[in-house]
Symmetry: C2
Subunit: 116 residues, 2 copies
DNA sequence: TCCATACTTCACCGATAGTTGAATTAACTG
DNA sequence: CAGTTAATTCAACTATCGGTGAAGTATGGA
């Protein structure tokens, strides 16, 4: 990943509205959520939200598809993975004791079950 | 982790100089690097760098210790872990097929060996 | 065709961030 | 203590960001 793109992705997430939007979409999973519902859920004005979604979208962190009148937004999980890897690249010169807790934390993440 | 702190950490990383500084410190591991050496390595003016380090520091992403005249900066790996977890919290409603690649990617990360 | 719904785009304003140059604090050396 | 190196703090300037109101585009129903 290029440094420039990483900065754009981090900047996209570095704002309270956008961060909440992104986390909401992460929780929603691949099905996504229509823009209007995001707007109501997070109490963000539709035009403001639209600008935020545009930014997240052009950073490659979310995508959308149309269903009737609604635009359904969902998270781009692959981009997120790229970003996380970029941040931890060549981490800590192989000190397992330093990095291992990070990996463990992400694996937990109140997300999926770890693959046993 | 509070939303506010997460935003501050992301904002701290969302700038090319600071991102490069942080990645350099991640690669350096627990030993860290003196401010002057960071300045020379990345060609950032000392006063500019100082402001950036301050921001990273107050976001809890780096810490420093004094050794003689030098201030040695190093990454705060635990904070980073917290941030990553916050971003992926309750990820994708348990769709393992979506989240698993992310975990795998971070585990790889050109970092430490995965614990087998 | 006309209207309502769902979002987006545009123009504008106040607030905040990043850089620079000058001055300042801290620590070692002779 | 004077001089030097290491790094930080301060003030000022420009550029960019985030939110708002108003207007515009697209889809579906009567």
């Amino acid at each position: 990943m290029e440094s420039d793109l990483a900065v754009r992705r981090l900047a996209a997430l570095a704002q309270s509205n956008r961060l909440e939007v992104f986390r909401l979409l992460v929780k929603a999973g691949p099905d996504g959520i229509p823009a209007g519902e995001i707007s109501r859920t997070l109490s963000i004005a539709p035009n403001t939200l639209s600008a935020q979604l545009n930014l997240l979208s052009s950073a490659g962190l979310v995508k959308n598809r149309r269903e009737g009148r609604s635009l359904i937004y969902s998270a781009e999980f692959e981009s997120m993975a790229d970003l996380l890897v970029y941040l931890m690249e060549d981490c800590c010169q192989g000190h397992q004791d330093v990095c291992q807790p990070i990996i463990a934390a992400v694996s937990r993440g109140d997300c999926c079950e770890p693959t046993t």
